[in-house]
């Protein structure tokens, strides 16, 4: 223990305040209580995953199997997302907004490639109100023509104008990697023809297919099991258990290839390889993401991961690695954005970095760092409510198990330099998915980068 006199006056004051005193009282050997993981249950035919940390707020979300992957016509997912919390047969959109404002709640709707999420964050005592609201939104929204014309269309057009080069490149990489299904753009760009397909009646049809009991899961973070089983049963009984309309679902297949899209003013390159899916135990991919990194861990420094070094050699570019995990496929990506010459340089350097891993040029120390980073990423994902919530819900609707953190951690520990080398080699030998968006005169072809497409 540090002696009292060694601490500055500010620190002493802080120690005296109650919170810090509690931490100080806990001995160094005592383990912090582990954060609960999501417990899957089934309440009246609805899949529910809940965890309760006893805090004063609750996050309740409906995760529906209605992401862009499952849309029957282009743009329906974004249409359905914008129609969330609009007029229902019971109350108007304005009333929904004002009432949740009065209760201090937050409503949001967003989507990933696989899931559409309707989320409410609120005080613990208001669970009945928001459970009813979410059930009402999915079963009784009216999908009126005037709301579509006056509100939904405008918001979609605005968001389309905000889709940046990095997002377009990522969509293009998915498109060449998976063609249909997962290849659908996450947000259709302004030049994507969705006009003929996106209207309120098609959205209503899609909603009837998407919002059925087998297709949704309710994820609650900070609500007790007892309260959930009490309120979900009565409110969700109107949600249909089957639908005439079927969602678009075919198994994903990896193709690979190259896409080049001209765009003024912004440049991005995405280099993709087949990655790890949600259920797969491929700890190498997670460690590879940690090793390549790219996101800085400390302030005022680009960091020490391989892609940070790449970015340092091309100062106008930003590069980072990520694994996009879906229920039956994954895409391991290196995403680069910045000014065109720097993006080109960074892309070349990134592939070189990956090749150096495949040739075994990674120090043991770096592997240890990468494993630590991968462990942090995993634990952070399971703990933070945003990403963890979507992850838990997506797992439930695809029939998988919630994240088995302990097992995954153990698997990460087993990754060695040799395994990483083999994994990187396998990636480079397979077909890559390369997408370049921006100034095509400068941006490189996959062939020039030394990748097979």
């Amino acid at each position: 223990m540090i002696s009292r006199s060694a601490l500055s006056r500010g620190t002493q004051l802080a120690l005296r305040s109650s919170g810090a005193a509690k931490i100080a009282q806990r001995g160094f050997a005592a383990a912090a209580s582990e954060k609960a993981s999501y417990e899957p249950t089934n309440i009246a035919g609805v899949k529910v995953a809940a965890r309760d940390d006893g805090g004063p707020t609750t996050r309740l979300a409906i995760v529906a199997k209605a992401g862009t992957r499952y849309e029957t016509l282009p743009g329906l997912t974004v249409g359905l997302e914008e129609f969330a919390f609009k007029n229902t047969t019971k109350r108007s959109a304005l009333r929904i907004t004002r009432e949740s404002e009065l209760l201090g709640g937050q409503l949001s709707a967003y989507h990933t490639r696989e899931a559409l999420v309707l989320q409410a964050n609120f005080l613990r005592a208001d669970l009945p109100y928001f459970a009813e609201l979410l059930a009402e939104v999915i079963s009784q929204t009216r999908y009126t023509t005037h709301e579509f014309r006056e509100e939904v269309e405008g918001v979609i057009r605005y968001k389309q104008s905000k889709v940046d080069a990095a997002a377009i490149a990522l969509d293009a990489a998915h498109s060449v990697a998976f063609h249909t299904g997962l290849g659908n753009p996450l947000y259709p760009t302004a030049s994507t023809p969705i006009g003929p397909y996106l209207d309120e009646s098609n959205v209503a049809t899609y909603a009837s297919a998407a919002y059925t009991k087998p297709n949704i899961s309710v994820v609650a973070d900070g609500a007790s099991q007892a309260a959930l089983s009490k309120w979900i049963e009565p409110f969700f009984k109107d949600v249909p258990s089957d639908s005439q309309v079927k969602l678009e679902q075919s198994a994903s297949k990896y193709y690979g290839g190259e896409a080049r899209i001209a765009k003024i003013g912004a440049n991005a390159v995405v280099i993709g390889f087949p990655g790890a899916s949600l259920g797969a135990s491929q700890p190498e991919v997670a460690v590879l993401v940690g090793l390549l990194g790219g996101e800085s861990n400390v302030k005022w420094s680009p960091g020490f991961s391989l892609l940070s070094k790449v970015a340092a050699s091309a100062p106008g570019a930003h590069a980072h690695a990520a694994n996009f995990a879906y229920s039956d496929a994954g895409l391991f990506t290196i995403q680069i954005s910045g000014s065109a010459p720097h993006v080109r340089k960074a892309a070349e350097e990134s592939v070189k970095a990956l090749k150096s891993i495949a040739e075994g040029g990674v120090a043991q120390e770096d592997v240890v760092k990468a494993v630590a980073k991968a462990r942090f990423n995993l634990l952070s994902l399971s703990e933070t409510s945003g990403a963890g919530l979507v992850h838990a819900g997506a797992n439930l609707i695809s029939g998988g198990q919630p994240l088995q953190v302990a097992e995954r951690l153990k698997a990460l520990e087993s990754v060695t330099g040799d395994k990483l080398k083999a994994a990187a080699k396998a990636l480079l030998e397979g077909k890559a998915s390369v997408a370049s968006v921006g100034d095509l005169h400068v941006l490189p072809f996959a062939e020039e980068l030394g990748l097979k497409v």
Partner: protein
Amino acid sequence: MPAPSLAPFIRARPWLSKLVTPVANMYSNAAGYRQMGLRADDLISEENENVLTALKRLPAKESYDRIYRIRRATQLSLQHKLLPKAEWTKPEEDVPYLGPLLAQIEAEQKEVEQLDTLTVIKAH
């Protein structure tokens, strides 16, 4: 704000409704708009925010037909003529198409006003 109406009062009483309906039909025919091919809802004054919003919400076909009827009626009025009897608006065609939309918009307005002026009583 719509003018006060006796209609709901009368409609709620079948005997009174039976008594008044023939008179109402006579009145509608005598009003003369049917002879110019118009519907009752074509006569709602447009110079009003709510009506303008309701007109925007009309389906494309309804909106086109409405403009056609109004232009035809204007032309007839200019020429001091009536339509040939076969083209008069039949009572069964004279359905409210704008009224329901307008009622919905007025209800929305009323709700906005109520929510803007509510008093919050804290429950916890």
